[in-house]
Subunit: 500 residues, 2 copies
């Protein structure tokens, strides 16, 4: 076995990967299994492991090894070079933020999270404002330090954490294209929709049966239950490492689809993680290529596949089998209409794929202004309501269904929101290319065959890990630069479909 | 905040405690939640965290701080001094065994565990022998190194890991007393039992209902479900830290008591852990006082309380409520006879409290000879069978119900078995003292009131953590030195009870 500087770095990252996996399990357990009263204990465990992880990652030894490996880079192959680049990237991000700032931010956000939940329950922004102020000040410090270290403007530095290699200029070009077309597209869709009414899907759907349906669908998709789990939690999420991947969803007695679609979303994440290059699984280059790409894989399955006529054809017999549904509202066309119903609404997580990007745009514009100081925290509720009115023609009734609906800022996650919109853009662009390469994809999905879909995604996306940038990956997988064009084409075709 | 060497040590141990808790969760999850195919991933995570824990514990900085704190010990209080002693004890144990030996042992035992299971399934000792040989050689090295560092004979050094402060001389005095009286006591009991036949408790007992019963019993006992969990696993166990304690049991459709008694056993462990001194919970002195004392707390609840007439009075209405049982076999006296049924048997984990210590004695005598080399691995099956015949008058039909029944030696846990017998001895001695201090304890238990029981145990045992040795603790709690006398008195009174 070689003990070159590069080989030593791989060894170091094997250990970091084990810490990363242990931390993932501690978080999963906290959300799914942990008794309510044990949060303080878990907080100490997470803090200790995170601090140790940070210390291992920023040790002088790592810096020395990175420099020596770089100096001897001529002996390395493609993947090794990419791995070295990602190692340095992780280390640069970690070392830019001092431990003291990280721990102040951890304390401030854990206080803010509690007060955010309380403020939301009481529909009272004032309870949250001072805590957001505190978090925002620390995030500004972090953005400045990170920006300095990475040679990026502050907001770009934050975005880079979640969507590496995507600049705010890229994001703004995409938002510009979307905001130019979406408002009119929504109007046209709502007009068409009014002419084609659909029947509601009412009933009581026992969680146990919903779970059985979801498990069967996940099995068809290829989720490996011998290396993963499905559980329930308040908010659906995916956690773990490719050898032990765990997703959650939430079942609603009165709604057959929310649990299934939540599970599809998370299965999309899981399938991406499971498709990452196995031989690099404990190395940085074997990780996912950031949140925008993660979100593209979940949205592709939840929104594009899961709300397609082909999927409804596959799903219909499953519904009959698990729930013995019958009647006109359970016919294919009505199911499809319910799944693609469009509505101007106040809550992001309930939004359909047509209005969703505008929810993100409102947040993106506000977080940039908060970060730069152009907007004061106390002005946030009014800015939010005005943004919603301008972009979506709806006005929140209060802070709870307005600027307090999302937890992200309380957690200090500024720069995260754009990855949701980027995810939708990437998903549609990949889907367009996939369809041109697999013309029979609809027939396959209609038969419950997802092999073709995931073979293509694995080859073009998953198996690349973090080897290339998002923009390079898109160029390669779709033959086109990253842009909003495919998403707009997809939405127009789907929502302006002529009556059959 | 002081930064004295002692204060710095407390800070270091806070971190070690968080690692300890994270490791506990990783193990719990592996046994209860983890998908079967993820064992390799979990193995890497455990190894990485254990190695890091070991490195933190044996760092030169810790040695320096320990020496400096010792030199300034005059400023420390009782508890701090005891904590310092336990810190050093942990460090001495860790540093005595080099990482290379630990990792060779880890690899050898994980191979041996797999082959042990296979050999047991096939009832074929030869498949396991070479692996036990390998483990034994490494354990011998470990015992020699540990003995050297601690100034103890090799087997004593191993015992010291599980039952600190108890010597093999103590253990042998206890075994001598037990082996002098138990064989005749078993004969007398079996003769009496033959005159008082009992009716079997047959039926189908749905696991869901068994769980509801167990949860209700655990609540009465005082198990805090907001800081703990009950789950199912192949072998019952307790894992976690006092702020998040998790027990498991296993439900058998055809046996109403095995799941309940398993849960009582583990609840005994959990109540001990929960009663440890809260203000020292992240320090060595706040930990349990070793496996013998742990086992005393589980046996006290499972064997002494759980198989008492008082407990049966409390339990009887619960059985009626949860299972609507009726008929003569469910009357108090028959239930009590079934719960205290004695039988010469081959399998330790199914043994009653009367024959149990002899199962341990057989193992203790053999493991000492294996360790010293007096007995060769290939001679083990015959030595086992001869021991069982001599001590219990039963002879295994093969290795599966003979020397392959327990996993301990495959895992390298030599020196562990005595703690089971010590646990029974300690439990009876504590119980005798407790009854003299709380004469109405039976009435309390009969009413399902466990507060008196646990108040006493907390005051006399749990709240002391690792402050005093087992022998000092027993002297203080019972007024008597540790001996087998109380256990023999308890067993005689219970099993030779005159007919009413």
């Amino acid at each position: 076995m070689s003990t070159s500087p590069y080989a030593q770095l791989e060894q170091e990252w094997r250990r970091l990967h084990a810490f990363h996996g242990a931390l993932a399990l501690l978080r999963w357990d906290a959300a799914v299994m942990m008794p309510r009263g044990s949060a303080d204990v878990r907080g100490e465990q997470l803090a200790a492991l995170e601090t140790e992880h940070h210390a291992l990652l920023t040790a002088p030894r790592i810096t020395r090894l990175l420099d020596r490996a770089q100096a001897n880079a001529q002996g390395l192959e493609d993947w090794q070079l990419a791995n070295l680049r990602e190692m340095r990237r992780q280390r640069d991000h970690a070392i830019a933020t001092p431990v003291s700032l990280i721990s102040r931010l951890a304390r401030a956000t854990s206080r803010a999270e509690v007060r955010w939940a309380e403020a939301r329950r009481q529909n009272n922004f004032d309870l949250f404002a001072p805590h957001l102020e505190e978090v925002l000040n620390l995030v500004r410090d972090k953005a400045a330090l990170l920006g300095q270290a990475l040679g990026l403007p502050p907001h770009d530095a934050l975005v880079d954490e979640f969507s590496p290699g995507v600049s705010t200029a890229d994001i703004e070009a995409i938002f510009k294209a979307l905001s130019r077309r979406l408002p009119s597209l929504i109007r046209e869709t709502l007009a068409l929709q009014a002419q084609r009414p659909s029947m509601p899907l009412t009933g009581k759907f026992a969680p146990g049966k919903q779970r059985a349906l979801v498990v069967e669908v996940m099995r068809s998709i290829g989720f490996p239950f011998d290396r993963g789990r499905l559980d329930e939690s308040e908010h659906p999420f995916t956690e773990g490492v490719p050898g032990d991947i765990r997703i959650t969803t939430r079942f609603d007695n009165a709604d057959l689809f929310s649990g299934l679609l939540g599970a599809l979303h998370e299965t999309g994440h899981a399938m991406y993680d499971l498709g990452l290059p196995q031989s690099w699984r404990d190395q940085p280059v074997g990780r996912d290529r950031g949140m925008a790409l993660e979100e593209s894989q979940s949205l592709l399955l939840e929104m594009i596949v899961g709300r397609s006529r082909a999927f409804v054809r596959y799903l219909r017999p499953q519904l009959e089998k698990h729930f013995a549904v019958s009647g006109p509202e359970w016919e294919l066309e009505n199911l499809y209409r319910r799944l693609t119903h469009v509505q101007r609404s106040l809550i992001r997580v309930d939004a359909d794929e047509l209005t969703y990007p505008l929810h993100i745009l409102v947040r993106y514009e506000i977080e940039k202004k908060l970060l730069s100081g152009e907007l004061a925290v106390r002005e946030l509720p009014e800015a939010w309501d005005a943004g919603m009115e301008q972009r979506l023609e709806v006005r929140p009734t209060g802070a709870a269904d307005g600027c307090l609906q999302d937890i992200h800022w309380a957690l200090g996650s500024f720069g995260y929101f754009p990855s949701y919109a980027l995810g939708a853009v990437i998903a549609a662009q990949l889907w367009e290319s996939l369809r041109s390469h697999i013309p029979e994809i609809d027939e396959q999905i209609g038969r419950g065959e997802f092999g073709g879909l995931f073979d293509w995604l694995r080859e073009q996306v998953h198996s690349l890990g973090a080897k290339v940038s998002v923009k390079e990956l898109m160029k390669h997988a779709s033959g086109q630069p990253l842009s909003a064009n495919a998403l707009l084409r997809y939405l127009e075709a789907k929502y302006l479909e002529p009556a059959s």
